[in-house]
C-alpha cells in the first residue's frame, strides 16, 4: 500500500485510487475539472517520489522534468509528497559571493547556498529583501560550469528590491531565497530540433543560461538567440555570446535595437519582429521567450501562429511587482 503526504495530511491510498480521489476523500479542496487527464486543472507537483508516467501524459517536457503530474490520472506506485504547483518551497539561506556590473543598469550577483540547489538554467529564484519584499530573478548560471548561482539584476526606477541589491549588497552578506521555480528551461531528448530564443532586457539572463545548457548537453540543431533593447547601452554579455558563437557553429546571436542609433552587427527593430522576419515558419521549433511581459505575450502568439506547437513554447514573462 502506498501513501501520499500533502502539507500536514498523510493519506493511505486504497487499491487503484488516484491522488485526486484520495485528497477529495479526505475533504481537501484541490482544484479539478474533467477528471480524465486533459484539462490540467488538477496539475500538481511531487516534491518527493516519482509519479507514474501515465500521470504525466501530454504535459510539457519541463513539467515532466519537475515531477508535475495530473492528480486525476495518478495512481502512485511509491509514496509521494505532493503539493499544488502554486505552493512555494521553503526559503533557504544564501551567501553573496560576488557582485559585478554587466552594464549601466544590470548587476550580476553570485550566491552560494549551504546545500547545493538542483536547478536548470533558465529557472528563477525568489529573493527576499530585509524589508520582507520578495522578487523573482532568473538563474543565468549553468550547474557544473559556474560555482553557485548567478543572477542578473536590472535596476528598476524606484525599485525597492533591485535598489537594495544594487546599492547595498556586498560579498559576505546573507539573504533568503526560494526555489528553483519556473518551467522555462532546456530538456534533452530532441538534439536536432531548432531552438529560437527571444528576450528583452535582463531576459538575456535565462536565455544565455538556456543556450549554454543546451550546448553543454550536446544540442546539435541550430540555436538562434535574439536579444532586444531600445539602445546600445542595454546590450550586455555581447563579448561572451560572440565567443560562444565562435566556439559553436550551431549557435547564433543577434542583438536587436528598437531605437534610432544602430551600430554595425545589430539588427534594427523590435526583437520578436526581427526574429519573425528571419524565421517566418516555426513548425517543429522549440521557442523560449523571456523578458518584458508584452513582448512575451505577443511573441507567444506570433510563434504559435507561425507553426510552433503550444507545448514547445516556453515563457518567462518578467512581471513588475506593484508592492
Amino acid at each position: 500500500m502506498v501513501a501520499i503526504r500533502f502539507g500536514t495530511h498523510e493519506i493511505d491510498l486504497t487499491d487503484g485510487e488516484t491522488v485526486l480521489d484520495a485528497l477529495l476523500r479526505e475533504g481537501i479542496a484541490v482544484p479539478y475539472s474533467c477528471r480524465s487527464g486533459f484539462c490540467q486543472t488538477c496539475l500538481m507537483c511531487a516534491s518527493q517520489g516519482k509519479p507514474p508516467r501515465e500521470a504525466m501524459q501530454g504535459l510539457r517536457d519541463t513539467w515532466k522534468a519537475s515531477n508535475y503530474f495530473l492528480a486525476c490520472r495518478c495512481k502512485p506506485v511509491m509514496d509521494l509528497e505532493v503539493r499544488l504547483t502554486g505552493d512555494l518551497p521553503a526559503p533557504v539561506r544564501a551567501r553573496v559571493q560576488s557582485v559585478q556590473p554587466l552594464s549601466q543598469d544590470i548587476l550580476e550577483i553570485g550566491l552560494a547556498t549551504d546545500e547545493r540547489l538542483h536547478y536548470h538554467p533558465g529557472q528563477f529564484i525568489n529573493v527576499e529583501s530585509p524589508g520582507g519584499l520578495t522578487r523573482s530573478y532568473s538563474l543565468a548560471s549553468v550547474p557544473g560550469e559556474d560555482d553557485g548561482l548567478l543572477l542578473q539584476v536590472r535596476r528598476l526606477p524606484g525599485g525597492r528590491v533591485s535598489g537594495w541589491i544594487h546599492e547595498t549588497l556586498k560579498p559576505g552578506d546573507t539573504l533568503h531565497i526560494q526555489g528553483p521555480l519556473g518551467d522555462c528551461f532546456y530538456c534533452e531528448g530532441q538534439p536536432v530540433q531548432p531552438l529560437l530564443l527571444i528576450g528583452t532586457g535582463s531576459g538575456l539572463a535565462p536565455l544565455s543560461g538556456i543556450a549554454r545548457d543546451a550546448l553543454r548537453q550536446g544540442h546539435k540543431g541550430p540555436i538562434h538567440l535574439f536579444h532586444g533593447s531600445r539602445s546600445r547601452d542595454g546590450l550586455y554579455l555581447q563579448d561572451c555570446l560572440k565567443r560562444l558563437a565562435a566556439r559553436h557553429p550551431q549557435f547564433q546571436y543577434t542583438p536587436c535595437l528598437s531605437g534610432q542609433d544602430i551600430p554595425p552587427g545589430c539588427a534594427r527593430g523590435r526583437v520578436h519582429e526581427v526574429a519573425q522576419a528571419r524565421f517566418p515558419c516555426l513548425s517543429g521549433w522549440r521557442v523560449f521567450l523571456c523578458g518584458h511581459p508584452d513582448m512575451v505575450q505577443q511573441a507567444r502568439m506570433m510563434a504559435f501562429m507561425a507553426g510552433a506547437a503550444i507545448n514547445d513554447i516556453y515563457l518567462d514573462p518578467f512581471n513588475v511587482a506593484l508592492t
Binding site: S33, C34, R35, S36, G37, F38, C39, Q40, T41, Q57, G58, R300, M301, F304, M305, A309, I310
Partner: protein, 127 residues
C-alpha cells in the same frame, strides 16, 4: 501493441491521445484566426485554452471523458452571456472539420466526430 479491429472505437481508429495532440495545435490556430469567433478567446491564457480544446477534442473523438451536459452548460454560460449562438457553434464545427481534413481523416470518421460535437449544441448554447 494494440491491433485495430473492425470493432475498435472511434477514438482508437483515429489514433487516440496522439491524434488529439496532433489536432489540438491545428484546431486552436484555426479558432484564433477565425474572426467570427476569436473574440470569445481573447484574454484567456493560451495554455489553459489549449488544455480545454484538448478536452473538447478528446470528447469529440469519442475518447474518455467525464464531462456532463451540466458541465458544458456551466463552462459556456459566460460565453452565452457574451452572445454565443448557433452561428458561432457552426463556425467551431467548420474549424473542426477542416482540422480533420488537414489530418487526412477519412470522411466517414469525420462525420462521426462532427455528430458527437453536434450532440453538445443545446448544452453549450444553454437551451
Amino acid at each position: 501493441m494494440s491491433t485495430i479491429t473492425p470493432n475498435a472505437s472511434l477514438y482508437e481508429r483515429l489514433g487516440g491521445a496522439a491524434a488529439v495532440d496532433a489536432a489540438v495545435n491545428i484546431f486552436y490556430r484555426k479558432v484564433i484566426a477565425d474572426s467570427r469567433i476569436n473574440h470569445f478567446f481573447t484574454g484567456v491564457d493560451m495554455d489553459r485554452q489549449a488544455a480545454k480544446q484538448k478536452a473538447f477534442l478528446t470528447m469529440a473523438f469519442g475518447g474518455p471523458h467525464n464531462y456532463t451536459g451540466l458541465d458544458m452548460r456551466r463552462g459556456h454560460a459566460r460565453l452565452v452571456e457574451m452572445g454565443l449562438n448557433d452561428s458561432h457553434f457552426d463556425a467551431v464545427l467548420e474549424n473542426l472539420a477542416s482540422t480533420l481534413s488537414e489530418l487526412a481523416v477519412p470522411a466517414d470518421m469525420t462525420d462521426e466526430v462532427i455528430a458527437i460535437a453536434e450532440s453538445t449544441r443545446s448544452d453549450v448554447l444553454g437551451r
